[in-house]
């Protein structure tokens, strides 16, 4: 895979998850007790032997840069190749209006040009899975396709926003591709992961720019569906599509199924920035059932069906059910939480009761004290 580079396209609108993305980019949303979304596409690439990865950024990326740092965790702190942070387009000119992600590709075209690899994988942070691109690249080369698109057969879709659905013919060639549409009559969802020759990507960018079209998927891929041979590659592992609060919440809780968390976390190692947290402590009065927990937590209460991020504290008598508690949040004595998402550093003082709905979890924003 020395001849394949990766681009993680984080230059996307993320309004669909406003409560969690107000203070951070989509890519740095905390996920699965210890991770952030970016960890998955980045680890997938690295695990497949890709050593040149560019991350297209749009905005609010300081937390992302803090998280990724020089890429040491992913072994991408290299003299040649390695990790490249590709800043947004608009800062190159004063006060221009943002047109779309093609602009980000275009303003970083130098990086793509001068990379020595002939193939490129384009990925996105909001499709969480654990896959090996080696097979996909091999299939791409064997098929002779111009573009290979990874898809998954799915009966239903939690939320259609940002998703592309598709139909393929009997040779697995993509015949239809639609964005933001219902699954009706379709049962395949694009993972928005593409393999193509670098030359083709450059051509697509160039063409889009010259015609004033700025959406990579709509204009660059769908717009070329007739002209190019786009091949579908079926993926059968677990997939989390993180495109709404509801889907975020549901898929996190789905992780409590050992089959799913083993697939997502352990098919290959998922790397993330570590924090020197001691083990999680359970006391003589703690009661835990069906829980995923990061390190550094102190659990004195009752936790069921929930995810605890790093350094969460649950005091005596507190009861937490069906909830996601992000880093360093605290639940005070005898408080009760059900269907709740606590963002980082939230403090629930003693004797409080918070209750959301299964399809509409209550979200408490970062640093709030209740």
């Amino acid at each position: 895979m020395k001849n394949v580079m990766g681009i993680i396209n984080n230059a996307q609108k993320e309004d669909f998850m406003r409560e969690l993305t107000e203070i951070r980019s989509l890519a740095s949303i905390p996920f699965g007790c210890r991770y952030r979304l970016i960890d998955f596409p980045l680890s997938n690439l690295v695990n497949s032997g890709v050593t040149n990865v560019g991350i297209l950024l749009e905005n609010k990326y300081r937390s992302l840069m803090d998280h990724i740092g020089p890429g040491k965790v992913w072994d991408l702190d290299r003299k040649r190749d390695g990790l490249f942070i590709l800043p947004p387009a608009q800062v190159y000119g004063d006060n221009r209006f943002y047109k779309g992600d093609i602009e980000n590709f275009y303003s970083n075209i130098d990086y793509i040009h001068r990379s020595s690899q002939d193939y490129v994988i384009i990925s996105t942070p909001y499709m969480v899975c654990n896959l090996d691109y080696r097979e996909i690249v091999k299939a791409h080369k064997e098929s002779g396709a111009d573009i290979t698109l990874v898809y998954k057969q799915m009966p239903t879709l939690e939320d259609k926003s940002t998703c592309s659905i598709l139909k393929t013919d009997k040779n697995n060639r993509v015949t239809e591709l639609k964005v933001n549409s219902d699954l009706k009559n379709y049962d395949k969802v694009s993972l928005n992961k593409f393999v193509m020759k670098k030359e083709l990507l450059l051509e697509i960018i160039d063409e889009c720019v010259s015609m004033g079209r700025w959406d990579f998927i709509k204009d660059g891929i769908i717009g070329n569906l007739d002209r190019l041979n786009i091949h579908g590659y079926p993926f059968s592992g677990a997939l989390g599509i993180i495109n709404s609060i509801k889907s975020y919440y549901k898929f996190n809780l789905k992780l409590l199924n050992p089959e799913i968390w083993k697939d997502i976390f352990m098919t290959k190692t998922i790397y993330t920035k570590s924090k020197d947290e001691p083990p999680t402590q359970f006391t003589a009065v703690s009661k835990v059932k069906n829980v995923l927990a990061a390190n550094g937590c102190i659990v004195k209460g009752h936790v069921e069906n929930s995810l605890l991020f790093r350094g969460v504290k649950i005091e005596k008598g507190a009861v937490v059910k069906n909830s996601i508690l992000m880093q360093k949040s605290t639940v005070g004595q005898n408080s009760r939480l059900n269907n709740v998402i606590l963002d980082k550093n939230v403090v629930i003082t003693p004797e409080k009761v918070l209750r959301g709905e299964e399809n509409f979890p209550t979200i408490i924003k970062k640093n709030v004290v209740i």
Partner: protein, 392 residues
């Protein structure tokens, strides 16, 4: 390259034979501790937290594990351009020939060249096998205030234990008048913690002199400190009051872990102002199944609990199968405890697989001994192992 006011020299050479099968394949400083750490994490983190960024680690036993664990030191923020942590093995000298480290002082003598690279004013001498949190910069401040040539960290031990320690007799100002190794009738209960600050010019002089003496065992406690006291150097005791434990035996290793389970453990590992760092393996979160139960225990990431855990420390990457029961035990990394097995008062070393329905340390508990299962063992289904057994 600018010099350093102080550098640390960490003696990591201990064979640690009293830890039995645990140190069969590991130098003592590399022994796992507290669900997350290795012993050497404590002095290394203390150095980093105290602002000491140059640490030479002297080792000659099984250096590969320690070497690859320490790596470039970035885990402790000790990957500095000028300084940082480095492992110092013995080497062949064209003039002196082959030289293994014969004693604690001799190890430092052989690394005089390394020390002089940094032209330090002070040298902090540490050992790699004690559990404690200590701000060495306060000890250095004390050393300078007392205008001392040597400072030795000491702590009060119970009078009945004085015959197990190096005991300092001091004057009112805490200047050390006498140093006695394991005295029968101690006059003082101030025990040496094996932590020294030396003014380098004196230390160097005495190291060179000690090496000329063929009868010396090249040891700080036996040779260097007594010589310095004889010469009336100004040696002060620096009193330390926090948690400190030499986990030199299986019993003390086990009880140090039980200490950690206390809700307000004296050794607070959750204190974010004095973080003990370690090399973090990349592992998924802890999973506790709907049938699992964890009470009064520490559990580390990557572990899957389908059974019952009580009063225990579970390191990372361990599987406790359904209906298994683990009590008052220490489970080191990458262990599997089979379905329905019962583990009580045991230390299960790395990479052990215990089959289903085993009973370890089950039965009469009269001599109250800890069972140890050595690294990599596979215990077949239905095995019963008696209390106090050490399986190599």
């Amino acid at each position: 390259m600018p010099g350093k006011e102080i550098i640390a020299m960490l003696l990591a050479g201990g064979k640690g034979t009293r830890l039995g099968v645990m140190t069969d394949k590991l130098a003592k400083p590399a022994i796992p501790f507290g669900g997350e750490f290795r012993l050497i994490d404590f002095p290394l983190s203390n150095c980093a937290n105290s602002g000491i960024d140059t640490v030479g680690v002297m080792t000659q036993y099984e250096p590969l594990v320690l070497n690859s664990y320490i790596g470039n030191g970035s885990s402790w923020d000790l990957d500095r351009q000028n300084g940082g942590v480095i492992v110092l093995p013995p080497y062949l000298d064209r003039k002196r020939g082959a030289n293994w480290y014969s004693g604690t002082a001799n190890a430092i003598y052989q690394n005089i060249d390394y020390i002089e690279t940094y032209d330090p004013e002070f040298v902090l001498v540490l050992s790699g096998d004690h559990i404690y949190k200590m701000d060495y910069s306060l000890m250095l401040k004390y050393h300078k205030e007392k205008n001392a040539d040597v400072s030795i960290a000491v702590m009060e031990v119970p009078w009945e234990d004085t015959n197990r320690f190096g005991i300092m007799n001091t004057d009112k100002d805490d200047r050390i008048k006498e140093f006695l190794e394991k005295p029968e009738d101690a006059e003082s209960n101030l025990a040496s913690m094996g932590i020294y600050i030396f003014s380098w010019k004196y230390l160097k002089e005495y190291l060179v002199e000690d090496t000329r003496n063929p009868d010396s065992s090249g040891d700080f406690g036996k040779n260097i400190i007594p010589m310095m006291l004889e010469d009336k150097l100004s040696i002060y005791a620096y009193r330390f009051n926090g948690y400190w434990k030499d986990v030199g035996t299986i019993e003390s290793y086990w009880s140090a872990h039980m200490d950690l389970l206390e809700e307000n453990s004296e050794l607070d590992l959750y204190d974010r102002d004095w973080i003990i760092s370690s090399v973090n393996p990349h592992l998924p979160p802890i999973y506790i199944s709907p049938d699992g139960d964890v009470i009064h225990s520490l559990v580390n990431k990557g572990s899957q609990i389908y059974g019952k855990v009580e009063d225990s420390v579970i390191f990372f990457d361990t599987i406790i199968e359904k209906d298994a029961i683990v009590k008052e035990s220490i489970i080191l990394p990458n262990v599997t405890i089979g379905k329905g097995s019962y583990i009580n008062k045991a230390v299960i070393c790395q990479d052990v697989t215990i089959g289903p329905n085993c009973k370890i340390s089950y039965g009469t508990d009269e001599h109250n001994k800890i069972t140890v299962i050595g690294e990599g063992k596979e215990i077949p289904e239905g095995t019963t192992i008696d209390t106090g057994f050490e399986l190599e």
